[in-house]
Structures are given as C-alpha cells and as structure tokens.
Symmetry: none
Subunit: 93 residues, 2 copies
C-alpha cells in the first residue's frame, strides 16, 4: 500500500458494517463476509434462523446466525454469476 493511501476506500461492509476490503461478488464487503458467501453457495439452503429471522448482523455477532447473514448477502445483491448453478447440474466432459 502506498504511503498516504486511504486504508478502506470502499467504506463499510454492506453485510455486517465491518470495514470493506473491496467489491466482492458485486457488493462492498469485508473478507469475512466474502469468504462466508463463497463457502455458502453450495449449501445455503440448509441454513436456518433460530431467532425469528430478523437478526441484525454486526462484526461481533455475524457468526451467530448463518441464515440471516446469508439472507442479507442475497438481499444485498451478492451473486456468483447466476446461471452457473444450473450449469453445475450438468455433466462434465
């Protein structure tokens, strides 16, 4: 990083309000939410909220409820392509 550079020009993570490190999967997020979203793609359906589905995601509690965290990712617009998942169901050559 150059001297005098602004450390976090991307503002806050749109998911948990931590510091965003860049635009990831279409949304400014921190490294944590970026990695979480990537890992969640193949298993997102299985998440379930135990607190009523209205959890407020913060840097401190973001690992408390995967369901609400992942829901916020989707609601905010994070996406890996979109059509890829249909394609994944087809066979390779």
């Amino acid at each position: 990083m150059p001297v005098g550079a602004i450390p976090f020009p991307f503002g806050d993570c749109r998911i948990c309000n931590d510091k965003a490190t860049g635009v990831h999967y279409g949304v400014a997020t921190c490294e944590g939410c970026k990695g979480f979203f990537r890992r969640s793609i193949p298993k997102g359906e299985k998440y379930k909220c135990f607190f009523g589905g209205q959890c407020v995601i913060s840097p401190q509690n973001r690992n408390r409820c995967k369901a609400c965290r992942f829901k916020k990712c989707l609601d905010t617009g994070m996406a890996i392509d979109g059509m890829i998942f249909q394609i994944l169901h087809s066979k390779s050559c």
Copy 2:
C-alpha cells in the same frame, strides 16, 4: 475521443458479445477476449470444460469456462501468426 465519435464502431465481440474495441488477432473482440487470447496461447492445451463443452459465452460468465472461451476464440478464427495450427491439433475440452 473526438466529440460525436461513435464509441464502438466495431460492433459486438464475436466471442462474448460485449462491445468490441477493434479487430484483435483477426477478429473483432473486446479488450477482455483480446487479452485472454494472448495469455492463452502458451497454455491453451491445459484448459478443460467442466460443464459439457457447450458453454454459451457472455460478458457475465466469460471467465467461468476458459476451455469454451478459448475454443470459441479458435473457432472464430483468432490467430497469432502461424502457431495457431499446432494448437488446433492438440486437445481442448
């Protein structure tokens, strides 16, 4: 760019349908497919399609499948001098 100039007189990229920026390696392509083809030449053999070898290349998903993107480059006629023919005889997908 002069005032009144047409931004993309070359039409659409023959590979991914993004906007073409000129004729590159013999084919009207965007900057992305131009750079991808240039980088691919020394390693194109190693690409492999995991989706059946029939991927439709679009600006959004063009980085999903290097094999099909590169195959389309070759099929569409992109070439760097004469080395193209050697590559065509090797495996792809």
